[in-house]
Symmetry: C2
Subunit: 443 residues, 2 copies
């Protein structure tokens, strides 16, 4: 019968900051509702946090708060440890201890999984428990489940994601309000969408962790995070944003994993994206992931990629699946997990063929455009369009030239760009960005 207790699940929460606090609140406040809905009785037994001020402020009973994990690991009533400490140091050690103590682990820690996922999964398996990680990518969006459950009839061929809310917030401000990068970053920090030290986000590192997890799951492979070609948004110029708008594109930080017969392309980079592609519409701190499957074609999953409550939604969904016993079965049965698939053969991104946008600052004097187009032609790169704005009659001033290229191999255009940069009349901060059109479907 509905509402009957099917399964009690004893929970220890490790880390009670923003996301941990949101999770504690959800577990305490909505316990009865979730029990009635699922038959699973989630019991928050331990909150491990050395600085309990926040935990107490949000209403966690003092009696649950501990300053070490030891008691929780020794308590047979604890079935699951939720790791929300973050980072790859102490978190690595604590997750290992939890697994060795025979506790399932639920984690939002993408850096940890991207670096140590393979050995941690193997360790979980050895101890007959599971690691669930819906909260590690895309916040509350059930994208991990789409890959291990909803789309399981498909061979996944490509993923394109906006998976870092900080970058998307900054880029949206740049695109919609004409802000420069520095100004938009300050705004994002003031609005709570960027950290005081935003390096991890704006350099694309966080997104690279996520795409190595998502791509690995999609393809049933282990993608070494170090092999993800990663470029952030911190060197984007206002001229690039302006050009994207003028050419009818949006500009997004796109994390991509694409499977080919030869291997996989995995990268994070700012890219022009056609306005007809749903990813172009994802604004502010929202995330979205486009998944292309052999049967289903293009599907997309959209929602908040961060924040206390959305991330708690994903953490608690994992708890419910462990309580129901469904997740452990899939963790045992499926071959797609990071410890089971082969290491992906990650291809050199220089081999990938795409369309490109090229911005050059060029001294406005005769022959310069001819030199540029001659070099492109000599490299067999074909120009789709070229724009140079009129700046008045002052000869010799620098003007911005925007060139849209037909599809070409990235290594070739990079080589051509090097040659172009040897010309005297060219500014030294060009911009070369890929252009993503709507992905051809495989259905």
């Amino acid at each position: 019968m509905a509402g009957q207790v099917q399964k009690q699940l004893g929970v220890a929460l490790l880390g009670c900051g923003v996301v941990g606090g949101g999770t504690a609140v959800l577990l305490l406040k909505d316990k009865e509702r979730m029990l009635a809905m699922t038959g699973c009785d989630l019991q928050l037994l331990y909150v491990v946090e050395k600085n309990p001020a926040h935990a107490l402020a949000i209403g966690v009973p003092q009696s649950l708060i501990h300053d070490s994990l030891d008691a929780a690991l020794a308590d047979p009533a604890v079935d699951v440890v939720i790791e929300l400490v973050g980072g790859t140091g102490i978190a690595r050690e604590l997750v290992s201890r939890a697994l060795q103590a025979g506790k399932h682990v639920v984690t939002a820690n993408k850096a940890l999984l991207a670096k140590h996922g393979r050995e941690l999964f193997a360790e979980a398996r050895k101890n007959k428990v599971s690691i669930a990680f819906e909260a590690s990518c895309g916040g509350g969006i059930p994208i991990i489940r789409a890959l291990y459950d909803g789309l399981m009839a498909n061979e996944i061929t490509a993923l394109y994601g906006i998976v870092n809310g900080t970058c998307n917030y900054i880029l949206t401000e740049m695109l919609q309000k004409g802000k420069g990068y520095a100004e938009a970053l300050i705004g994002a920090q003031a609005a709570g969408f960027a950290e005081a030290d935003p390096t991890f986000d704006v350099k694309g590192i966080d997104a690279s962790h996520k795409i190595s997890i998502l791509g690995g799951l999609a393809f049933g492979m282990w993608i070494e995070h170090d092999k993800v070609h990663t470029q952030g948004i911190d060197s984007l110029m206002e001229a690039d944003v302006a050009a994207a708008i003028r050419l009818g594109y949006s500009l997004k930080l796109i994390a991509q994993a694409r499977k080919t017969a030869a291997g996989v392309f995995v990268r994070v980079e700012p890219a022009f994206i056609a306005r007809s592609h749903p990813l172009a519409w994802v604004n502010g701190s929202f995330n979205a992931v486009s998944v292309y499957g052999s049967s289903v074609g293009h599907t997309l999953y959209y929602g908040r990629g961060a924040g206390a409550s959305p991330t708690a939604s994903a953490v608690v969904a994992d708890l419910l699946s462990i309580a129901a016993g469904t997740y452990p079965v899939l963790f045992d049965n499926l071959s797609i997990w990071m410890d089971r698939g082969q290491s992906a053969h990650v291809l050199d991104t220089a081999l990938e063929e795409r369309r490109f946008y090229l911005r050059l600052d060029v001294r406005d004097c005769p022959g310069n455009l001819a030199d540029i187009t001659r070099i492109l032609g000599a490299n067999k790169i074909s120009v789709a369009s070229i724009h140079q704005e009129e700046v008045g009659d002052d000869a010799n001033q620098m003007v911005t030239v925007v060139i849209v290229l037909h599809s070409c191999v990235e290594g070739t255009i990079r080589k051509a760009l090097e040659q172009i940069l040897t010309l005297d009349a060219i500014g030294k901060t060009p911009s070369l960005l890929p252009i993503l059109e709507e992905q051809t479907e495989f259905a």
Copy 2:
């Protein structure tokens, strides 16, 4: 170990038309890949189809084809019957027989579930089997799973969906190419996106079946399909499409289920939708569903809502979940299924308060606008904007007046409209459509 056979699942496929054919192809072609990926061995044992021409053409072995379900039901090797016959007559009877024979049922039949789901679910439970229905709503989009699994930590408060690809294709053609309804419908039929008799789709009936299923699952209630307030797209005028574009909105057939303290609003209707809402970007035959949860806020799921292969993706995902044993557990444990929740208290849509667009054809002579605005004012309905296009100096010709209203109760504006229609100078085919802004989140 990965790849080991965990579970064999014997499958009988009932109906081998477009979707059935796609399912058969997927089961035959990708059997080994799915076995390697999931450990589940899906064995297509029976294809029940009285007209086997299509089945044979797509490569179903003659030996699998039967003209009745009898042999499959008597065969203990058959664990699941996939019902892809459609309709509520013979399908109802065959599903019952399958359940009584102790077979799980996987179905894409929204009409059947919307009408008889409650008793069929109870019948399944009595026979200790389950009914899985991912393919019934949103084609290959794993939206049913989002509701019973990914978002289970949430109280779902609202759903807004574009769940009929035929209507969305027609509306996209009207919006993007300026076609009239009749012309767009013929184009949709020619392109294979509309049936020869499109009534079920364009009148909103198909969407009403889907929203009663989705809303019921989201709220853990049984929503009687007859109570869904349903309005189709077949009476939309080109003037409405033009007004939507001019005012900066999109125009979509929106299926909506919204929970309030007093009960639920459930409806299908054409609506203006703000361009800032992701649903406004869903074009062509694609579907999408926005789900608002108490923790996660706004999430959206996008993909192909119909077609052989996307629907097969959903059908086979259900087979894999039954084979793994995960779906039957959730079917047993959760209280959200249609046979378990209370009957929803469906509210009179006249009580709902929203913004509206009102188009009137008005004879261009003095005092008419004053009469209209006087009636609105007398009903305490506040005008946000009013547009009347200049049509030249011919007095007394009919002109189109577009009025955008501030939020008001639907019953009130309908009453005011009746009063307006008693005026001599007003054409008798006005249009009143709601305007949906980005839904306030509950996070």
